[in-house]
Subunit: 137 residues, 3 copies
Amino acid sequence: MQTTFTCPTHGAGLYEITRQIAGWVPHGDGILTLLVQHTSCSLLIQENADPEVQSDMQAYFERLVPRSDTPQMAYLRHTYEGPDDMPAHIKAAMLPVSLSIPVQHGALRLGTWQGIYLFEHRDAPHVRKIAAHFRAD
Amino acid sequence: MQTTFTCPTHGAGLYEITRQIAGWVPHGDGILTLLVQHTSCSLLIQENADPEVQSDMQAYFERLVPRSDTPQMAYLRHTYEGPDDMPAHIKAAMLPVSLSIPVQHGALRLGTWQGIYLFEHRDAPHVRKIAAHFRAD
Amino acid sequence: MQTTFTCPTHGAGLYEITRQIAGWVPHGDGILTLLVQHTSCSLLIQENADPEVQSDMQAYFERLVPRSDTPQMAYLRHTYEGPDDMPAHIKAAMLPVSLSIPVQHGALRLGTWQGIYLFEHRDAPHVRKIAAHFRAD
């Protein structure tokens, strides 16, 4: 059983998709697999309680991987798609591209504070696609 | 076939859980999926030969993601749970939350030097939970 | 259905293995799981269009995790296998060790620009092994 989720984004940041995904999973036990079909955004399981976790997360990775028009990133060569492009590829390498989540009685076995996010790394609006597969036991 | 592993931790560092997990996998072929149910610790497959690899690993990530009471992290806002909290969330984003491991003849198909670890990022003791799912072929 | 892919490497960098893997997947639907059986190289899904993305990616991680004979890494203790060894373990922790990829009608559900790479972190030549598992629905 497969589908494709779409997630419209309007700038860098975390977009929660937990409800959309949980609603698709059928009753029963099995494994859910998600794969984001892009190289400049990520999947992330992170805390969904305090929104400051999400803005802090984004602020940290912006500093860890500065834009390609900053002096410390002057060595980058893949720059013609904009100063946010190569840093987006680097963040997409460091953060998850695929997730596997056990399902029991139709519920994702996430922890109490865990939510699933699409982490957008680009400035411009995008419509992101996530390939999803569920296999019942 | 599903279970939950627990791993008590007493401070930041790597805790090997390979034996506990390998002992649960039944004879036969299939796929093992692990998901850590927290947002401030990680799963890690790393070298299990020289313990200095594990302490060096922890030392590196402590420097890469300094505590929130250090000057270079003054921009963080999610700080009320302690200076080790937001850095723990960031490390949990950078390191694996889920692992998928092929199983053949009842054995995890790990390489010779690979062990499975719970990587604790918090200072205080915790009892960490890992959702596990095995699907026979 | 399981196999082991091998990927010979000659120095740090990205080696594309998409074709080798896609050619093994049988017709039908299911899930492909890959696990690299080493602790000093990684699996990576990244852009396969512009080769500068791959050299920039390598350049970034070389700077993020400098060699153990540089002043800023003087705290590392696992150094007897060479200055590229412990940094390779750290990169292997930060980048994926396992990937799960949905398969539909015999095709990997990768995005248009996504390729699968073995990311070698060591200087010396190696023959890297990747455990692969395919489960038809």
